[in-house]
């Protein structure tokens, strides 16, 4: 005897099958036919399962089933992890054909859902006591969940903060966040000196503040970054053939003055107080008027200015034909110097010059040299084997 619920499903299966045949003959569209056949198959499977479990009915005469059957046990709480897992799977598939970052997010969501779901499923079967099960799940999962959640929240806050800072004007940024910092400080004072303030109130205020920050970050990200003026660097100075400029330029005023890679210098070029320019090379004692550097190799040389005026070091590597900036074509009758240079170095200061020379100095029409604009008659020859 087929149970009542199953009959309904079997009937629906038959109806879907008839509808598929009728639709296929009368309308002829493959999409509708396939849909109806799919529905018929799905209904048939459901009907089969339902018939097998006898509609999950428990006999009214079976007294033990009231306490022992699965239906008698309290249902586990609803879980969101299947949904997160499905979302992750979708992102993995979409990301595989779009952006790697989407794929990565999908994979993370999928893995997190898998692990969390497994832990939840395990804990729900740990005992018949739901409270104990919840506790054991927390003991197992919270040590991993809390740091991850904290890091996630921190990342969102930092990212939102950075978007807002990039959106605000150069002066507006410090003002806005000075105010925010003052508010945070004031709130801290209130919490510290008025302990009667309820935890719920503090949590609500903090939550609203974080939400506001995130909302501001989203709005700022959508609005885009403020316009920023790109400062020239010594590379621009060299590209324009203006390294010989002894006067201060924007390059000297704004760009970084960092002296890096001190441990990896090939040698020093020193401008002495008396205006003489000499080279000192690693491992070679004394000063010299030549420096040998390896071809096609990144080389760091430190320029030390011992005079009482600001000076820059220039590496002269010959000349090349100028290039038309609009067309990119070479201008045959116009040459510009090929140079590398440091910024203006204050008296007593030093700065690194990093360069690579591809060709042997034997290929150069004029010797490669280090010079200092404004200091005449002084040069250190650069020899490239």
């Amino acid at each position: 005897m087929i149970p009542t619920g199953s009959r309904l499903l079997f009937g629906a299966t038959v109806l879907a099958t008839i509808a598929a045949v009728a639709y296929g003959i009368s309308v002829g569209g493959s999409l509708g036919t396939v849909g109806l056949i799919s529905a018929a198959i799905a209904l048939a499977i459901l009907a089969g399962i339902n018939a097998y479990v006898r509609d999950s009915d428990v006999s009214s005469m079976d007294s033990t089933a009231l306490t022992d059957s699965p239906a008698a046990r309290p249902a586990p709480p609803a879980s969101n992890w299947p949904m997160v897992g499905a979302l992750g799977a979708m992102l993995v598939v979409v990301g595989a054909v779009t952006y790697p970052v989407v794929f990565a997010f999908g994979l993370i969501a999928l893995l997190a859902a898998t692990v969390e779901w497994m832990i939840a499923a395990w804990s729900e079967r740990a005992s018949a006591d739901r409270g104990f099960n919840t506790g054991i799940r927390q003991r197992f999962a919270n040590p991993a969940e809390f740091p991850v959640l904290a890091a996630l929240v921190a990342a969102i806050i930092v990212y939102s903060f950075s978007r807002i800072m990039l959106f605000l004007s150069k002066t507006g940024g410090p003002v806005a966040f000075g105010l925010v910092a003052a508010l945070v400080l004031a709130a801290g004072f209130v919490v510290a000196f008025r302990p009667q303030v309820r935890n719920a109130t503090v949590s609500a205020v903090a939550g609203i503040a974080v939400l506001g920050l995130v909302a501001g970050g989203v709005a700022a990200a959508l609005a885009g970054e403020r316009e920023m003026h790109p400062h020239d660097t010594t590379s621009d100075l060299a590209a324009d053939g203006e390294c010989d400029n002894a006067e201060e330029t924007e390059v000297d005023e704004h760009a970084s003055q960092t002296v890096g890679a001190k441990a990896n210098i090939q040698g020093e070029i020193i401008l002495h107080e008396d205006g003489t320019l000499v080279a000192r090379s690693l491992g070679i004692g004394g000063s010299s008027d030549t420096m040998t550097v390896v071809s096609s190799n990144t080389t760091n040389v430190r320029f030390r200015n011992d005079t009482d005026e600001e000076r820059r070091l220039v590496l002269n590597l010959g000349e090349r034909n100028a290039v038309d900036e609009e067309t990119g074509d070479t201008i045959a009758d116009e040459v510009v110097p090929v140079q590398r240079c440091t910024q203006l170095v204050a008296d007593g200061g030093s700065q690194l010059l990093t360069f690579s020379i591809a060709r042997s100095s034997a290929a150069a029409e004029t010797p490669y040299t280090f010079t200092v604009p404004g200091v005449d008659g002084q040069a250190v020859e650069v020899v490239v084997p």
């Binding site: 890679a261 441990a263 990896n264 210098i265 090939q266 090379s281 690693l282 491992g283 070679i284 004692g285 004394g286 010299s288 030549t290 420096m291 040998t292 390896v294 071809s295 096609s296 190799n297 990144t298 760091n300 690579s356 591809a358 060709r359 042997s360 034997a362 290929a363 020899v383 084997p385």
Partner: protein, 411 residues
């Protein structure tokens, strides 16, 4: 009929016996390999002050570590045997023996301090640079070493740079400071009989002290995996007497002498200019119009460099010191030379009679086939079409003959 358990036990015993036999054989082979009498790269045979410092450190450390190993293994073995499970009752469980615990903490600490003191001293001694008498730049790239001597008062005075490849020539009994770097990936310079390893890293300058007691050849090997032909990235240090070193320097700075017109070498020079000078520099080489021929390897090779072939035949290896330019007999004549005779034999260079034309010909015929390199044009996407190593040049046999005749002139 045997039970399944019996079958499994017999199989397990057989596999265990076989595994033990294989392990024993491999171990014995590894140990016996250290007994090779003619191994040129032997860290246990120091040939200079620096390697001797290392030797003087590693022996006592090895002895101390060996004694500790024997004590620990013996104690563990005794415990395992003495307290094996024979069905006895579990003994009374105790917790804490302060005297023993403190002793077992202090004793290893004292041993480590005893090892650390001479170790730190040796490290400091090996990093000294203020007694340098000669400076050389050594630049690694896939898969060869470039050696250049900067202009300096050291090395007996060098007033124009010398550049060579594969073989570092130094004066005997002289503190040489290597300034090492790399043009592409990390390599490691290692000539075991002269000093320890020193990684060379792109963008960094690493120093290493080199000193050889006597004239001779000291073989080395790149010791940091650096790609396809890492195993073929070799080098040699040639130590010469001061007088021989001066002779070698004079030869390296001697001006280029073009081959006589109408000779096979002159034809080879033309092929060289047409095919080889894109990457390989020969200092002083000019074309028929007197235009200097300057190599531009930065347009061809990922590292931006190729060996300078000036005075090629004054070296006796090529292709990253992977092959000898000398025939086996002539090579043996140089390698087996006594310290007194070594300089003269080395400075003889490679004559036509001694040229290992077999390997050189194979190299010129198809270099990537002889030494694994990234030279397939279709696979050079990651390097924007630049080779790593020497490509196939499609030279005819006649062109190869001509080029060999020309290279023989580069002495």
């Amino acid at each position: 009929m045997r039970t399944l358990g019996t079958v499994a036990r017999v199989w397990f015993d057989r596999v265990t016996r076989r595994s033990l036999a294989v392990t024993g054989l491999v171990g014995a082979a590894a140990v016996l390999a250290g007994c090779a009498k003619d191994a040129p790269q032997d860290t246990w045979q120091p040939a200079g002050d620096n390697s001797r410092d290392i030797q003087n450190l590693q022996w006592p450390v090895f002895a101390i570590a060996g004694v500790v190993l024997v004590i620990v293994v013996a104690a563990v073995g005794w415990c395992v045997f003495r307290y094996r499970d024979t069905g006895q009752a579990i003994p009374e469980q105790t917790h804490g023996r302060p005297a023993l615990e403190i002793g077992l903490t202090v004793l290893p600490a004292l041993i480590l301090i005893g090892v650390a003191v001479p170790t730190v001293g040796t490290i400091m001694a090996l990093s000294q640079t203020d007694d340098t008498e000669c400076v050389v730049n050594i630049t690694g790239q896939q898969w060869w070493w470039e050696i250049d001597y900067p202009v300096q008062d050291g090395c007996g005075g060098i007033d124009q740079p010398i550049v060579t490849a594969g073989q570092l020539v130094i004066p005997e009994d002289t503190n040489v400071l290597m300034r090492g770097t790399s043009r592409d990936v990390i390599h490691s310079f290692w000539v075991p009989r002269i000093n320890g390893k020193r990684d060379v890293v792109p963008g960094r300058v690493q120093t290493l002290r080199l000193e050889a007691d006597d004239p001779g050849i000291y073989a080395g090997q790149c010791a940091e995996f650096c790609g396809l032909s890492h195993a073929n990235m070799r080098m040699e240090i040639m130590a010469l007497s001061p007088a021989d070193f001066e002779t070698w320097k004079a030869n390296q700075t001697a001006p280029y002498e073009p081959p006589e017109d109408g000779t096979q070498a002159a034809d080879g020079e033309a092929v060289f200019i047409q095919q080889c000078v894109r990457c390989h520099q020969v200092d002083g080489l000019v074309d028929d119009n007197g235009v200097p021929q300057i190599a531009h390897p930065e347009d061809q090779v990922y590292s931006g460099a190729a060996p300078n072939l000036s005075h090629l035949m004054s070296r006796n290896t090529f292709a990253g010191a992977s092959w000898d330019l000398l025939t086996p007999t002539c090579r043996e004549n140089v390698w087996e030379a006594s310290p007194d005779a070594f300089g003269e034999r080395y400075l003889t260079g490679v004559t036509e009679d001694c040229l290992n034309s077999v390997d050189l010909r194979e190299w010129l015929r198809n270099a990537p086939e002889k030494k694994p390199m990234y030279a397939d044009q279709e696979q050079l996407g990651p390097t924007d079409g630049l080779y790593r190593g020497m490509p196939y040049l499609a030279l005819s046999e006649d062109q190869i003959d001509d080029v060999i005749a020309y290279l023989l002139e580069l002495d």
